[in-house]
């Protein structure tokens, strides 16, 4: 592995950050261990004893809510001989028993029983053999994060200006809560950072999603989903921002000249469900319908949560050249059911019509990156124009096609990768959980 600071330069990055297995292995500890990593959402385990399985980088996890409502992120690994102890995606359980030799754990991670207990050494104490767990958890508006780094800043500090933007996303729901439902899993043959580059990239829609733009104009006319990227997107007021710590923001809202609902492509059931809402909500119907389409923002919480439109995408690295993307349906809590039925159809609209083209292009990039002699990936657009406009939170905004957000997250990546992070695990009872909001 080359010296890291030669790999990330102000205007370009080296191909090896996408192709080198040593870089990938270091990322799996320093980034997907040393940073705050998004693990799950509280709405997925609403009741005591609920659980779900997730991953932190390559580490399989069981996220549990104990009988008192406390959250835990247990490594899904028997303390005895390493078998994963939980196979289910989600469910409700007080105990997890390893199928191999019967060691049994509570949903707090304590070892509560192992069969034939005679014969263990005199200094064998059950308290030392629970499921290892993530030592620091934090929640923000129901989003659960974890880190193995006791020196990491507080979650609130880590999120910084991304926090109020999460608030804006969540507060589109009448109750101020969101509900994360089922997900679609897609796998592509490319490095995980290709998805991350793309999430802060306002230059690609005009070209990568040309089929979608042409289709909408031909079939439906007028200003429809993404049409603000049709020509000269930088003249629309849309902007991108580097939020620090690797977080990125792309705001498409200034490019709209009508309501979200009017610009939304027609989805199945649009007319009937809108009519139900108009009948039941009267004068308030326009505001209620506005909850159905996407939020018109891309908010990326480094290193693995992309908030896009009205769904979450989680980035789950598999190998240096293989990545899983999970698209999670997010329902608006407290909204009429009709709104959430429309959100289901909207949440599968761009993901099924547009995402395949993105994934195809990620795979084409990975193919091109195989050429060892052509070393650099250019990210210079807008380099001489950083910080053109600074908003009230001190966040620098730049025209949407500029590549500042990418340069920003890679600076944060470099900082984490160059740091001397010490990762630790905890035993049951040693875990802290901070509530950032």
């Amino acid at each position: 592995m080359n010296a890291l600071d030669t790999l990330v330069q102000p205007d370009r990055v080296h191909r090896s950050i996408y192709t080198d297995a040593d870089v990938f292995n270091a990322e799996m500890s320093k980034v997907f261990g040393g940073a705050w990593v998004y693990l799950a959402h509280e709405s997925q385990l609403p009741d005591p004893n609920d659980f779900l399985t997730s991953r932190m980088g390559l580490r399989p996890l069981i996220i549990t809510r104990d009988s008192d409502g406390g959250l835990h992120a247990l490594f899904n690994r028997c303390a005895h001989r390493a078998s994963i102890v939980c196979q289910a995606e989600c469910g409700s359980a007080r105990r997890f028993q390893c199928s191999y030799h019967g060691w049994t754990y509570s949903n707090r991670g304590d070892l509560v029983n192992m069969p034939y207990p005679e014969g263990y050494p005199a200094d064998f104490h059950k308290a030392d053999h629970g499921l290892a767990q993530v030592p620091r958890l934090g929640t923000y508006r129901g989003l659960i994060f974890g880190t193995l780094n006791l020196e990491a800043p507080s979650l609130a500090e880590w999120l910084g200006p991304a926090g109020p933007l999460i608030d804006g996303f969540v507060d589109r729901s009448p109750s101020g809560r969101i509900e994360v439902r089922n997900c679609q899993r897609m796998i592509y043959r490319g490095n995980w950072k290709l998805a991350w580059d793309n999430a802060g990239d306002g230059l690609h829609p005009t070209f990568a999603h040309r089929s979608f733009l042409i289709l909408n104009e031909r079939q439906h006319g007028g200003a429809r989903s993404l049409s603000q990227f049709k020509a000269s997107p930088d003249d629309t007021g849309m902007y991108g921002a580097d939020l620090g710590n690797g977080h990125m923001f792309v705001d498409q809202r200034p490019g709209l000249h009508q309501s979200f609902w009017e610009t939304q492509r027609p989805v199945p059931g649009r007319e009937w469900y809108a009519e139900q809402i108009e009948q039941s909500c009267g004068d308030g119907a326009a505001d209620v319908l506005e909850m159905a389409p996407g939020s018109m923002i891309n908010l990326s919480i480094f290193p693995n949560l992309l908030i896009k439109g009205n769904h979450f995408e989680t980035v789950d690295p598999v190998t240096v050249a293989e990545t899983r993307l999970h698209t999670w349906m997010v329902a608006a809590d407290g909204a009429p059911d009709e709104v959430n039925v429309l959100r289901m159809r909207i949440a599968e609209d761009f993901p099924s019509l547009g995402n395949p083209d993105d994934l195809e292009l990620f795979e084409r990039c990975q193919e091109g990156l195989a050429i060892a002699e052509v070393e650099w990936v250019d990210m210079s657009k807008g380099l001489d124009h950083e910080a053109e406009e600074v908003d009230a939170d001190g966040v620098a905004r730049a025209p949407v096609t500029y590549e500042g957000p990418m340069r920003g997250y890679l600076r944060a990546w470099l900082e984490l990768m160059s740091s001397d992070v010490k990762l630790t695990t905890a035993a049951a009872g040693e875990v802290t959980c901070e509530v950032a909001a």
Partner: protein, 187 residues
Amino acid sequence: MDPQAASPVDDRLYQRLADLLSSERPDPGPGHAELRPAVEQALHHEARLLDDRCYRDWLERFTDDCVYWIPLDPDGDPRAQVSYLLDDHRRMEDRIGLLETGWAHAQEPPSRTCRIVSNTAAWPLDGGETLARCSTVVWEHRKDRLTPFVSRNDYVFASLGEEWSIRFKIVRLVDSRGDVRKFSFVL
């Protein structure tokens, strides 16, 4: 069909789709043998149209109030859960229109496919409709890779014979809860 026409999807239609999925249990029996030849003829014809990428001809075989659905959860209610896709006629037209723009990168070069349709059984429904179930493997070749898409499919045919037409097509991928490879051709 007029792209501005209203979607026929409403609560009643969703309920019918949810009921169709649950009608598999208890076991509905072996199927009506006398329906099978006509159903197989239609399914094999559909497979040829798709493998030949005759998408417009394929679309003409669907009723105006049709639904083409690829669920993610085998027991999911489409009102409460996101699917891979749940299309009415209008969004099916969009999906095909997208390929016709010539800029759908994920289909450049286009996939070549061969689909095998098997284990067909059929039952009569009220109003002259026919329920058909089959097992399907779509083999996709693109860019040096051969990828199987394995599914159990449900169809509701509005009519059979020369003028066969489909009201509902449900593609239940066996790996819909796992890692699906991207696809933008028609399954």
